[in-house]
Symmetry: C2
Subunit: 244 residues, 2 copies
């Protein structure tokens, strides 16, 4: 499984991903699910991937080969808008589908892939997209300033309660990590290290890129304080006054 | 969708269910998903159902007709152990599968049903089972003293952090309602009224059976206090001290 979240805020972009993959409980491994394509000051693209690892890795390799001119296709580094970037990623997914889709289908394996794309092209806005397996996509807005892919449910309530477009980058990063903590507690197939990337709006560059291992002190502190806080909150809610 | 939870505690049993059903977003309705069969002082069976409404309703009707002798089959009111009760419910599911399964399959409709069964037979222990569509089942234990069916993920973290076998009936009921609050916030296809039933161990009777409507003051207070508590807990967790 996988869990990734992208948040589009007034201050900028928060992108986070876990790194655990599993093909059955006896084949658990660590793979990066965050990919960065950038030309500082000009273009910034951050991709988070979930789904069949062969499909998502192939999509990233396809995008790379297009950038390097080894495949004839739109290079992500030459697009002039985020809309064009999202279409380029969608087309890469379709190219992988054309190559592998029929054979996967013949083997009853789902062509399963989701990609969150966040970034900015000089002269345009910072934007956030969720791209589906067929290559179509939706865009985050003020009403829904975040996307999740993979194991999305356990970590959704805390984001829904905390994050709006006005949330600061630091607070949103904290919220993302709490969301990961809840998810990792409930689903062992989501696990560290966690990749976290922050980018300020209009900087066209990354502000922070870090990898948090299992024993990261801040991650451990969050987990402890959040757990204690939930228990204290629970205690503070009065019991029902029913007599029974 | 549906959300139901059953908890097996030293003090007794907590059973709770929502009552919203939907067959597409334009066909939302209210149906009870908690069913009580009892002979006070002798036998107590509480069933919570999730899945295809026609399958679960038919299973309950089948059990009823067996009790009333209109169908030749084991009557739930004549079993002498909780294990026999779970097998009786499993057989009812199989009888419905024999009747409707092939036709559902021909229409590409999944024979989808889960049942939580909690209760006690005089002379035996209070026990809790989760019964699957094929009629097989698992039993709750000290390590995992609760079962959930339906939309289980949003409301699981709070139960995991709070409930053990030693939790009191009142605290566990409070936890169940907080779990429902989290679920209803995140999935509109889970909704009130909520049915809640408490039974003390060895009483062989219900201690409380109540229906909480949307405007129930305690439900509203829980929702407000839990939401505020989460926000305060979030504020109390320090921001990361990264410079970026």
């Amino acid at each position: 499984m996988t869990y990734c979240v992208g948040m589009l805020l007034d201050e900028g972009l928060v992108m986070a991903s876990d790194s655990r993959t599993n093909a059955g409980v006896d084949r658990v491994a660590t793979f990066q699910k965050m990919f960065l394509f950038q030309e500082p000051g000009e273009k910034l693209f951050v991709l988070l991937t979930a789904g069949n690892l062969s499909v998502t890795q192939s999509t990233i390799s396809y995008l790379n080969d297009c950038i390097e001119g080894k495949i004839e296709g739109q290079s992500l580094m030459e697009v002039t808008s985020m809309y064009a970037a999202a279409r380029t990623v969608g087309r890469a997914l379709r190219a992988v589908w054309e190559e592998d889709g029929p054979s996967l289908k013949a083997h009853d394996i789902e062509f399963n892939a989701s990609i969150i794309l966040g970034g900015q092209v000089k002269g345009g806005q910072l934007r956030l997209f969720q791209i589906y397996a067929p290559g179509n996509f939706v865009e985050a807005s003020a009403d829904t300033p975040y996307f999740q892919i993979g194991e999305v449910k356990y970590g959704k309530p805390v984001i829904d309660r905390i994050v709006t477009q006005k949330t600061s980058l630091a607070e949103a990063a904290k919220c993302a990590l709490i969301s990961f903590d809840s998810t990792m507690r409930s689903n062992v197939s989501v696990g560290p290290p966690l990749d976290l990337l922050l980018a300020r709006r209009d900087s066209l560059d990354i502000a922070l890129q870090t990898r948090l291992e299992d024993d990261n002190p801040y991650l451990r502190e969050i987990s402890r304080l959040w757990g204690e806080g939930l228990k204290n909150t629970f205690e503070a809610v009065p019991d029902p006054d029913w007599t029974f």
